[in-house]
Structures are given as C-alpha cells and as structure tokens.
Symmetry: C2
Subunit: 453 residues, 2 copies
C-alpha cells in the first residue's frame, strides 16, 4: 500500500527544514542534546498552538456536550495503582550479561543480537512511568509519578465535574497537556518521544449506547484531520483485532497517517466500558455512579476515549503539507498548510525599504497583526521573499509597490496557486478573512491572475 | 498598608467558589488529594487560557521584537549545573532527631518548634529540583531533573533562534509552560505549588542599554495587569535592595498583588547582565556571542527577565474580581472579570423551554458560540440564572422572551451595572463585539436602562 502513495517528504528534509527555519530544535543542543526531547521554536510553537487551538475550539468550545479540564502532571500514586499502570504499564527488557545494556524483548526478536555478542539474561518487566519523590525525603512514601497519559485526570475528576457543571449524559471531558513515558525505543523525530503532549477526550455515555458513540467519534475524529487539510490518501483507519484488545476493551480503532517511515498511529479511539470508573470507585471507596434522573437509575457510565498525540499531529501536518515544485524556473519548497494551521497567516512585503513606502507598508502590517500572526519582510528580492514565505507555509503575501501610494491598492499573492489579485487596501482585511476562512481563491470581487511579477 | 485596602475576597470564599463552580479542584481528591497540586476545571481552564492567551498576544504576537518558544520540561543535566541550580537552588533543612520530620530553617525561626518537642539537628542543604531517571537504569548517568523554571530553555536556544529568525538586538524570547519545585513550605491555595505554570521573557539587549530596557519592562508588565482590569490599589512595585540581589544581578523589581493573605509576588523583573549566557558558553564550550553587524562587534547580550506565575495570575484575577452586593433585594456574588479574562463571554437565557422560543434561542446561541465561549441556560427563574452567571463573571446575559419572536429583539443585560438594552438580533453580534472589546456600556445606538426585569 505504501508504494502507491506519492509524497515528497522524507524525514531528512523535514528535520532539516524544521531546524533551519525554527520549527523544531533538539532539546539542550549546546550540551549534545537530550534524547527524545524536543523544543518548538518560534514557528513550531505557533504551528503546535494552532493545532491545539483548532482541537479545543472544535471539540470543546463549540460543543454542548463537552467541558475542558487541565489537571496536574503529578498525581496521587493510588491513581496509577487503580488504573493498572503500576502493574501493567511496562516493557519486558532483557539484559546482556557481558555489556549490561538492556533491550526490549519484542524489538530484539525483530533485529540482530546486541553488537557485543554477549549472552542475554531472562526478560524482566520495566515500568515506563518516570518516578520522582515529593517532599524532602526520598523514601517509598514520597514516590510520585509523571503521568503517562492525561486520561486519568478526567476519570478522577468525573464526580467533581458532574456536580459543578450539572452536565447530563452523554457528555465528555477534554484535556490537552504533557505526558511522559520512559520509552526504551524512541525515534523518528517527534513521532515517539519520552516527553510529549496529548489531546484526550473521555466521553461518558449510558451503557448500551457505546457502539453508536464509538462509531460517531471514529468518524468525527477522522473527518477532523481531513477538514484541516490532511490528504485522505494519507489517512486510514485500523481496527484492532480481538487479540490486541485489553481484557476490558470493547473495541479500538486507530487513525493512521502515512509518515515518511510508513503508516503510524496518529490517534486511537477506544471503547473502554466502565473499566476506569470501576477501578477508581473500588480503589477510592467513593461512589462514582452517575444519577440518571430521567431513567431513575444509578450506574457507572461507559466511556469512549479519542486520544490524540499533539507532536504526532505536528509531524503529520508538516509531512502532509510538504511539497516541492518549480516557480518561474526556480525550485521551491512549499508547506501547503491549511490556513487555520499555518503559523504565519500573511506576510507584508514592501518593494523598497525607503520612505514613504516603508511607513505605508508598516501601517498595513500593524493593522493586520491585530487579528493575525503576520510577518514583515523587506530584505532581498521579492522572489526570494516569496520563497521564504512558501517554505514556512504562509498562505498569503501582500506586496506593496510605489503604485500603492497612488491608487491605495496592494497585490495579494496566494501560496499554492501563485495567483495574484490587486485590491484596495480598504478591502484587504475582509478579503484575507474570507480567504483564511476557506473561500476559494478564484472567488470574490477582484480577479486573480496567474504568474508572478 | 494592608488595612487601608478594601477587599471582600477571603481565601475561604475564593476556594469554596472555585470548587463549587468548577474553577479549581484539588488534585486526586478522591484519593485524599495530592498536596500542592491543583486541577483546573471547566471554568478554570478557560480562565487560565484567557490569561495566557492575552499574554501571548500582547507580548509575542503583536510585538516585532519578540518570538515564542516551547522547550521541553526535561533538559540535559548540564543545563542545571551551568545555571547554578544544582549547587544553589536549595533550602536549608533541619531534622528533628526524635520524629525525623524536616523543616525549613528560615521558617523555623519564625514559628514554634516542632510539636513533638524533639531536638533539632544541624541544617543541611536540600535541592528543590525534582529528580528522575531517563532510560531503564537508575544510576547517576541517567539522572534528569524537571525544570524549576522555563527560563533556561530560552538561554540554551539563543543561538538557534538568532540563526533561524535573523532577529536583531534588542529582541526577546517568550515561553509559557509548566515548572516544578519541590518546595517544603507550600500553601495559600494556588499561590505556592510544587507544580505550577510560568510565563517568562528573556529580553536580550546590547550591554549599556540594560537600565533603559529594565525600566521599560517594569512599566510594560505593571501596566499589563492594570489594562486587564486589576485595580491599581491592589498592585505595587517592590524594588529589591542590594542585599537581596544575587551577585550577578544588576537589579530586580517585583510586581506585587494584594492577596487575601497580604502582599505577594505576582511577577519579578530582573536585570541579569550576561550571567546566564556566560555560564552556558563556558559550560558548553559553544560561542554564544551575538554578531552585531552594524557596530561590527561581537558580544554576549545582557538580559532583562520579566517572569510571571500563571497560577498566581489566576488567583490574583479571581481575588481582584471578587465582589458581593445586593441586586433587587437579593445578595449576589460577582466576579467582575475584564471581558478578555472572563471564562464565559455571554449567556443565552430563553424565558421558556417551550417551542418555538427554544429553537429561536438555540439559533442565536449557535451563532454566538462560533466566536465566543457562550453558555445556554434555560432552567429555573431568570433571576437565579443571572446570579449563576454573575458568580462566574459572565459579562453579558442575553434574555430572549416571547416578544422576541415578534419584534426580533433581545435584551442584553450587563453584569456590573445590571443595565439592560433591547436591541435587534441583527445587531447583537456587533454590539457584543464592541462591548467585549471595552466600549463603555452607555455608548452605542441603543439606550441602556437600569434595574432588572
């Protein structure tokens, strides 16, 4: 299947572009880097923010049946005992008796033996939660863990949220935030990190309705990626077979993306029954049942969990948007981001640094940046400046020339088609707003022409 | 000084309101809570987001001289050796020889001896960074720390950012994110936590210009809180005296807020010279000098650091907004949030649940929520619903009655003045936009009247 899909993105190209233009740097680079941790630079932080903001707006703020949460990374250790993470969130590791290096058993089976050629010991379970101590004394009573998922924050707050918001089933709790997993095998740039960010929903439903809602959320989330511009041929659903499911799970479907290294999970939607609330009710001794006033019943709701990785989302949007073509005889790299995702929405490019053009252009720039992230660039040729904006995915460039001073018109150039229109400055903001909201380029009062100046 | 300031907020009232209405819950409450960690509920997460978004927009997106960053929480341990945190970020603790409890020395001097009455040992230094191990082996080579501040992420990325953005001095790097400090003495609700969030700027300037920029940032940040509605009498500047300053610091001024427990630091602005870049240049062996092409010089820039606590900001905005008064003979609690900060911008309140009023009101609600966080409430009396919205700080309530079906007009009621206007539905969005942006209530086409229906 992978062979059929055309993509110009390779991991080398993406990593290099990300570093050169300030999307993503390796953590602590001046000290030789810290493995599997990454820093989002000036463009990367805006890209990541846009993905998170789109998710928050679409999944929380414009839905009646969803509320937000921001729970802490450090939680009571009983949370992880009840959830099963302390016992089961582990990888089997085998140690080389000669060099003492440790390897994941399932990885070893796929690859060569350790390079030193030493004999391997018996596999032992290694928990993937990061452990630390709270308070001044490092003893077992002070152990806390960095959360390996944001999900448990939603479960332990279920009753608090029902009480304070008076929400009725079905409804969900959504949360974005950092999680940490001490993975042995990391890699593929920001695909599998030890520190990463999640966007998770726990959607609580009346038992018996879970299949309908599971299907709803699989479709809702799949369509969300398409709506934000991911090419349909780069997405697929993968249903877990029975053998892959945890004992309590009723079903699980992954949304996969075609990354440069192959298909990989972008998001998982799981039908978890009442497993988590049951575990926490038993471990805490608290009544976590929902009181259904209409049906005059009390029960533990069932849960559908759409769980997405933010960093994987960033990587998917980058890879999907990556393109190369030739413009006016010159090779260019373009990130064809959806306008909602693009870190910079427009660039203001005066043809000269001289006055009065500079002040004229600055005024336009200052007006636009009240509403959007906009760049101002007045160095080098206009062609070079277009290339620089194409490479970071800016959907629109606004060129200001000497004629603008006379007719109060500017040229708007569109990234993907390279079409240009000349419009009155008074119409610029409304035109940009319409185009950024997705109006076709060809539509509108002004006529777009092909080719660059 | 504290006696002169009038405030109706007490910590008990704030904590209770926050829990009842879903602003802030204690972490892991069903397991007896985890000390000094807090979860932001549905309203709290929006309040916190609004504060962070206002900071990001005002400090990063609308400034030419600022870029954003989102660096990882786990960093290379050399970062903390170079920064001085490994050696100096510690509290002196004394242990009771009888009960083995540990106490901060400076706190002990202020209060009673430990309750058990045992003899105290010699003070020992206790580092406040949380320590964990990365990778499968828990030995000294695997130690990493949770960052105690976001600031060092900006310093170690200084050269990456200069190279990728081509920024010229003076310019700043800004970052929001979680930090962790294993404080011995925590408390006062979300004022001093072990897990907390920061909004920090490192502003790099040419040596010799630091005093001008220090003054600029002290004013800029002080005015930011006032602009977002904090009462001037609840704010003051506190300049650190020479004895309080670190050996390398050129100056430090705190922005203090009058919390219920007294004046406390909300933000610190420090003039740090080239201390941090010097330390990292020496420890890493990398050249971190800035190439000043105009002056044809190379030098390490000086740094001004405005460092704010997000959680303290949330608490300050809550306490400052808290008010009680009497409306139509009934006591009410009001959070007088600035519209930019308010978690819910408007509430749509139909006078009846019946059709066709319900569909009519729903349409208005669905239209408004495309742009803002809006609530829909159709239960209990209109007075009760106003009280509920006042208590969470919603600036505007939109009441829809049976006459609305005939004249296509709705009543907009303002939280603080309780003034009401009746306006055409067609003008609702523009009116709300103007009022939310800060237009005086009395201004506009429609006339506001006093008193509630």
């Amino acid at each position: 299947m992978a062979d059929e899909i055309k993509t110009k993105a390779t991991m080398e190209k993406i990593v290099s572009l990300c570093r050169r233009r300030g999307f993503i740097f390796q953590s602590s680079e001046i000290y030789g880097t810290l493995a599997s941790c990454w820093d989002f630079g000036p463009l990367g932080v805006e890209l990541k923010r846009n993905i998170k903001e789109a998710w928050w707006k679409d999944m929380v703020q414009t839905r009646d049946d969803m509320v937000g949460l921001d729970s802490s990374i450090l939680m009571h250790p009983m949370v992880w005992q009840a959830s099963g993470h302390l016992k089961n969130f582990s990888d089997p590791l085998v140690e080389c008796k000669k060099c003492q290096k440790r390897y994941r058993q399932d990885e070893l089976e796929k690859q060569e033996c350790p390079s030193c050629g030493g004999e391997l010991g018996e596999p032992r379970q290694f928990n993937m939660m990061f452990k630390t101590y709270m308070g001044p004394i490092e003893d077992s009573s002070a152990v806390v863990y960095l959360r390996p998922e944001t999900a448990q924050g939603m479960f332990v707050n279920f009753q608090n949220i029902v009480t304070s918001t008076r929400k009725k089933l079905p409804f969900g709790i959504a949360q974005m935030g950092k999680s940490f997993r001490n993975e042995i095998t990391t890699g593929n740039f920001i695909f599998r990190d030890r520190e990463f960010e999640q966007m998770e929903i726990e959607y609580f439903v009346k038992p018996g309705t879970q299949d309908k809602w599971f299907e709803f959320w699989v479709n809702e989330r799949f369509n969300w990626y398409k709506k934000l511009g991911i090419k349909p041929e780069h997405l697929m659903l993968r249903q877990h077979c029975k053998e892959e499911l945890a004992h309590y799970a009723l079903g699980c479907t992954d949304i996969q993306f075609y990354f440069p290294m192959g298909w990989g999970e972008l998001e998982g939607i799981a039908s978890r029954g009442d497993y988590d609330l049951t575990q926490h009710a038993n471990a805490s001794g608290k009544n976590l049942k929902y009181i259904d006033e209409e049906a005059k019943e009390q029960y533990l709701p069932y849960v559908i969990e759409p769980s997405a990785g933010v960093d994987r989302g960033v990587l998917a949007f980058l890879c999907d948007a990556y393109d190369e073509d030739v413009a006016d005889g010159e090779a260019r790299v373009i990130l064809r981001f959806h306008p909602r995702i693009a870190p910079v929405k427009a660039a203001v490019l005066p043809l000269s640094k001289k006055e009065p053009l500079a002040t004229y252009a600055r005024d336009i720039f200052n007006n636009l940046r009240k509403d959007w992230v906009v760049q101002y660039d007045d160095t080098q040729s206009i062609g070079r400046r277009y290339r620089r904006q194409d490479e970071i995915g800016t959907p629109f460039c606004i060129t200001i020339d000497f004629q603008s001073l006379e007719d109060n018109q500017v040229t708007v150039r569109e990234r993907d088609s390279m079409q240009q229109i000349r419009i009155p400055v008074a119409e610029l903001k409304a035109t940009l707003a319409a185009k950024l909201a997705g109006e076709p380029i060809s539509q509108g009062r002004a006529v777009w022409k092909t080719g660059e100046k």
